[in-house]
Symmetry: C3
Subunit: 313 residues, 3 copies
C-alpha cells in the first residue's frame, strides 16, 4: 500500500507515538508486509528471530520493538508493540468507512457494464467496461476490476484477511488495508470469496476462470489463463503461475508457489511448492505417477501377507 | 427452547390433541431435543429403542407413542405421532413469520454497530455494540449477537437444521425453533453458514475466529478462542472445546467432541471424538505421529516386495 | 432448449451466416448439446473425432466445420467455427437481458409463497405455491421452481455453466441458454449453487433435500428423495438416481451416474459411475468393504516388515 502522498518519518512517528532513528524529513511512501515490501515502505517486526530479515528487506523504514543498529540509508520506528502500531497506521491511511449508499458515489463504473440488483459496491471501487456483476455480489472498498469481467451472484471481493496474532488472552487481527485486483476477461463463479490483501493486492490474472464456491486468501496472486474448479480453497500469500489447472475441492496451503501449466487433480491437498508442467494428486499432493504407484502398491498388501505366510510354513 | 410463559400439561395436550398422564396443571416450561433437555421440558420419542433414554432424561414431560408407566414426578403426552406433534408445538411457540421489513422493527442493535447495505435482519434479533455486519449478510429470527462481532459479506446465521425423519414416502423435516448465539469478539468470514439449533442454540464462543465458507451445523457448540480456517464443515450437535485449531477443508461428523487445544490438519475427516491437546490428521483423522508413520510405511511396500522376491528365489 | 416457435434451416443459417445442406424450409425446433439432443434439435461439432457421434445422434441438424455427407432426413449447417456460431444462436434465442427490477415483472409466483427481503428473481421465472424463498437468494432467468420448495438464504440458482473451449490464446465460454428446474418438496440449504444447464435443464427431483454450501454443476440431474449433506460438490452432466445419500464434502466428477439407493461416505471422491444399492467411500471412491480392508491392511505393514526382518536373520 502506497500512501496517497509521501509522508515523513516525523509525521509517521507522531501518528503512532513512537520514537525514531533517522531524519525528521526521511521520506516514507507506503507500508507493506514483509513478503511484499518495496523501497520507501514501512515494514514491522516484533520478534528477534525476524529482526535481520526485516532490517535487510527492501523496506526503508523498520517498525521494531528494540532500538537496534539502523542499516545505512534506512530509518527505524521504535515501539513497544509494532503489530498494534502497524494496525494504527492502517486505520489512519486506509480506514474502514461505513457505506452511505448501496453503490458508493465514489465508485467508477465503465461503459456497457451491467450491475444487477442488490449488488453492494464500496468506496473507491473501479469497475471497467463490458463487465456483468450479477445480483447480490459484494465488492468491498478499493477493489479494482478491469474490463470484460463476469462475477456471478453472491460472490464477495475484498473481505478481511484471516490473519491474527496470538496474544496471551485473545487473537489480535492484522487489519486489512490492501485490496483485490481482477484483470481483464476474468470470470468468477457464484459464491466465491476473494479476500483483500493485508497491505498489497490479492490478484486474479487476465483470462483466468473460477467456478463456484472458490476461496482465494489474502495476497494470493493467480496468473493468467488458469482454470479453477468448484470448491477449491487457496490460502493466503500463494503464487499460482500462468495456465495452471486446479480441479474441484483442492486445498492449497499458504505461502507456496504452483508452477506454470501444473495440473492438480480433484480433492488434492497441496502442502508444498510444486514445479510447473506436471500433474499432481493426493494429500499431500505428489506427482501423479508416484501417487498412482502408491495406491497400486496398497492393493498388493494382501498378496504380500499370503506370500509371507507361505514362507513361515 | 423455553416458552415465554409457563404452560400446563392440559394446555399443551390441547394444542396437539393428545391424551396425557399427569395433572391438568402440571407445569411445562419448554421443549427440547433429547441431548439438550432440562427439567420442565417436553422431549419426544417415537421408537421403543429410545423409550428408556427419554423417560430417564432430565425432561419432565415425555411426548411418546405408547402409554407406558409414567416415572415419578413426570408426565406423559401420548400421541400416535410424536415427531409430527413436536413440530406442531414448534409451529405454535416459535412460528416462522414472514419479514415485513429488510431489518425487522423488533431488532435491537447496539451502539456504534455498523450495518452495511442489503443486510437482512429477522424478527427478535439482538445485536450488541461495536459490531460490523457487512453487506448481504442474512440473520434469521431470534439470533443473538453479542458485542464487537464482525460478520463478513454473505454469511447466513440461523437457517434451518438439516434434520429429517425418513417417512415411508418422504423426508419429514424436524422444524427449527432454536437459534444462533454469537458471543463477544467473534469474527465470522464471508459466506459462512451457521444453522439454527433445533430447539436450543448453535453457539460460537468468545473470541473465536472463522475464516470464509465455514459451515457450522445445528446445535453445535464451539468454545472460546478457536481458529477455524476456510471451507471447514462441522456437522450438527458437535462440541468443540476452547482453543481448538482446525485448518482448511476439514470435515467433522455429527455428535462428537473435540477436546481443548486439539489441532486438526487441513482436509482431515474427523469421525470420532478426539482428546484435547494433540495434533491430528487424515481421513479418518488420527494422531499426527501415527498417521505419519502409516504414510511412511506405504512408501516401503515396493522395498518389501523386492525383499520377498529375493527370498522366493 | 426448444425455440418458442419452430424455425427453418434458412432462418437459422441467416442468423449465423452459414451455408447449409438441406431444404430452406427444413424445420428446426431447438438446439442442444450432444448429450441431451432430441429430434428437431441443432447440435454442434467441431472436431473430426466427434463427427460420427454428432451425425448419428438424435439431432436433426448438425452445425459442423466440414461439408460432410448429410445423413438421410437430416440437414447440415456448415461453419468455420461451430462453437462460436452455437453461442450466436444462444445469444439470439435466449439472450441475457439485464434486470429492470429486483423481482422481474415477468416472474410468476404461486399462492402462499413467501419471498423474503433482498431476493433477486430474474426474467421469466416460475415459482409454485407454498414455497419459502429466504433472504438474499438469487434466481436467474428462466428458472422453474415447483410447489412447496424451501430455499435458504444466499443460494444461487441458474448461474452460468463452467464450460470453456481452450482457444490458442484464451478460454472461450460456451454460453448458457438452459435453466434450472426444482421439483416439488425440495429443500435447498443456505449458500448452495445450482448452475444453469447449457441448453437443457439442471434438475433437482421431487422431495430431495440439500444441506448448506452444496454445488450442483450444469445439466446435472438429481433424482427423487436424495439426501445431500453440506459442502458436497457435484460436477456437470452427472446423473444421481433416486434415494441416493451423499454425506458431507463428497466430490463427484462430471458425466457419471450414481445408481439408486447408493450411499457415499463423507469426503469421498467419486471418479467413475457407481452401481446403486451399495455403500462407498474413499478417493477414488470404492465399495465400503473393499476400502475398509485396504485401510486395515496399511496398518499391518509394520508387522510385515518385522516378519521379513526375522526371515532375513
Amino acid at each position: 500500500m502506497k500512501f496517497t502522498k509521501p509522508q515523513t518519518l516525523a509525521q509517521i512517528a507522531d501518528i503512532i507515538k513512537a520514537t525514531y532513528v533517522g531524519d525528521d524529513s526521511f521520506p516514507v511512501l507506503g507500508m507493506n508486509e514483509i513478503h511484499v515490501v518495496e523501497p520507501g515502505d514501512i515494514v514491522f517486526v516484533d520478534h528477534p528471530k525476524y529482526y535481520e530479515k526485516a532490517l535487510e528487506s527492501a523496506a526503508t523504514v523498520v517498525l521494531i520493538n528494540k532500538e537496534v543498529d539502523c542499516p545505512n540509508g534506512k530509518a527505524l520506528l521504535v515501539s513497544d508493540d509494532p503489530f498494534r502500531d502497524f494496525n494504527k497506521l492502517t486505520d489512519h491511511f486506509s480506514p474502514f468507512v461505513a457505506a452511505r449508499a448501496v453503490i458508493a458515489d465514489s465508485a467508477e463504473i465503465g461503459l456497457h457494464t451491467i450491475i444487477q440488483p442488490n449488488v453492494f459496491i464500496g468506496n473507491n471501487v473501479k469497475i471497467g467496461a463490458g463487465c456483468v456483476i450479477h445480483a447480490n455480489v459484494a465488492i468491498y472498498d478499493n477493489t479494482v476490476i478491469e474490463d470484460n469481467v463476469t462475477i456471478h451472484s453472491g460472490s464477495v471481493l475484498g473481505a478481511d484477511a484471516f490473519y491474527y496474532k496470538n496474544r496471551p488472552d485473545h487473537f489480535d487481527k492484522l487489519k486489512s488495508g490492501g485490496n483485490v485486483v481482477i484483470h481483464d476477461h476474468v470470470d468468477i463463479g457464484a459464491l466465491c470469496t476473494i479476500d483483500s490483501g493485508v497491505t498489497a493486492s490479492t490478484t486474479i490474472g487476465e483470462g483466468t476462470k473460477l467456478d463456484n464456491q472458490v476461496h482465494i486468501g489474502h495476497d494470493t496472486i493467480i496468473g493468467k489463463r488458469c482454470l479453477i474448479a468448484s470448491q477449491v480453497g487457496i490460502a493466503g500469500c500463494v503464487v499460482i503461475e500462468d495456465l495452471v489447472t486446479i480441479w474441484g475441492q483442492v486445498g492449497v496451503t499458504s505461502g507456496i508457489t504452483i508452477g506454470a501449466r501444473a495440473v492438480i487433480s480433484a480433492q488434492s491437498g497441496v502442502s508444498k511448492s510444486l514445479e510447473g508442467g506436471k500433474s499432481y494428486f493426493g494429500t499431500p499432493a505428489d506427482e501423479f505417477r508416484k501417487k498412482y504407484k502408491e495406491i497400486a502398491s496398497i492393493r498388493l498388501i494382501p498378496d504380500i501377507i499370503e506370500k509371507l505366510d507361505k514362507l513361515h510354513e
